[in-house]
Symmetry: C2
Subunit: 270 residues, 2 copies
């Protein structure tokens, strides 16, 4: 194989498995070339991807080391995405009774969720998380994209208690609209001592998020990072304090058919 052919194969492998550590000997065997040649090829991919803002290759030294692809959106790409999302979500046709906005089509778009997942993955890359946890239903696509970027398993907390989950831990919680709801997670889902990221689409007062933190604690595990696609500006005081949000929903005025939504302040986006 010529260099450019090897590059095509290496780029595919690395990009197919974000955050997975490949040993150099894996590639040596795959391509039938010397380790030094693989190293040169990898440097070349690293430089090309960096120059176009396509993410990074990180080398881990030592016997158990290797190389992994770390997805990374540029500041400009993040700005562009969030402005575009804010624009789409501000469309008055999205207003639903009760001052909610329809987001399911956006959350179902693989290109958008993939990018949102990469933003969260970057945000929480230092947390050494073991799982990405979410609660059914709309947070799931975002959690999956985040988990894919970090090479982690997704764990889904449910609103019901299905026989297909086995014995589970349930928690009743009171939503901001004063209704009692239940969240439930299979006892098999989290290992004791696990570090988890909680990713969801939307937070208003934070009662669900607070419930998730408590439920995770029941497993002897810990939420080490929390990210939302959208949080509301009101109430300003949320029931959890440590979280990141990408967009802030300032106002939904049903009578005037007006939505005000903006990228969240930079300090929150990191």
């Amino acid at each position: 194989m010529r260099r450019s052919e090897r590059i095509a194969v290496l780029a595919k492998y690395l990009n197919d498995y974000p955050s997975r550590l490949f040993s150099l000997s894996f590639f040596v065997e795959l391509l039938g070339v010397a380790k030094s040649t693989v190293s040169e090829d990898l440097s070349l991919i690293r430089e090309s991807w960096r120059s176009k803002g396509l993410g990074d290759l990180v080398t881990v030294p030592g016997a158990s080391g290797g190389v992994k692809y770390v997805p990374c959106l540029s500041e400009e790409a993040i700005d562009r995405l969030l402005k575009d999302l804010a624009g789409q979500l501000a469309d008055s046709h999205r207003i639903l009774p009760g001052g909610f906005i329809y987001m399911s089509d956006i959350i179902g778009d693989p290109v958008i969720t993939e990018q949102v997942g990469q933003i969260f993955a970057n945000m929480f890359s230092e947390t050494q998380a073991d799982y990405v946890v979410t609660i059914a239903t709309k947070g799931i696509p975002l959690a999956i994209a985040t988990a894919r970027a970090l090479n982690l398993t997704t764990v889904i907390i449910r609103n019901d208690n299905k026989v297909t989950e086995g014995s589970s831990v349930s928690l009743n919680y009171i939503t901001s609209s004063r209704t009692i709801r239940t969240m439930s997670l299979s006892r098999r889902a989290l290992k004791e001592g696990a570090r988890v990221l909680f990713i969801d689409d939307f937070m208003k007062a934070g009662s669900t998020a607070q419930g998730v933190v408590k439920l995770v604690k029941e497993f002897g595990a810990e939420v080490v990072g929390t990210g939302f696609l959208v949080t509301t500006a009101q109430p300003e005081e949320k029931m959890i304090t440590d979280y990141h949000a990408l967009l802030t929903l300032e106002k939904v005025d049903e009578a005037l058919a007006q939505v005000v939504i903006n990228p969240a302040p930079k300090k929150q986006v990191k």
Copy 2:
């Protein structure tokens, strides 16, 4: 940029957006080289990926044409994956009361779901589908992976009726265990005349699948392909006839702590 550097960038773009058509002029502008050079680079990527079973590049001729990456697992890779999955699922520790088996960890694994999604994407690549539909909760990761591979939007049918979905169409159906359940989908979720794939994790008698077919019809849309990760061998007669399954659950014996599960017969896997 040298050829090998261009190849690294092209491979990344194509692989990041499966089934998305890129015009050659997009790459001409991105890389600042002649169209003929881009074409040569693409041929080189195509050959390298094909030779290693990493998928295909398809060229669409004409003014609105271009090139797209089509994920494609080799027969060997599919066999290996399904045997591995069958092995994992046959673990007696997965047996749950009622003869179910615990699958949530497998469905939460991004590497497994990505491959399952590619298998379904290949199966249904000729259906000209517009959406991938699933029903909450466990089918969602598989549907998302299939949608990503086909560059389609995922649509999630829910078991509840949430205010954040707006007005919706609901359907009551009777499960094989004789309980009445409801499935519900936002009126905004599907366009009239749409062609949809239905992807789910598990089918026993097929009452849920039959419900999905009916619900989709209510939108003036049509299910043009149906895929399950696992179907049970019994009952042999399902309530839907046209579907593909990857694995067949032959038997779960709670008393003997025994699970028999096998890759589905080839004719079903395509």
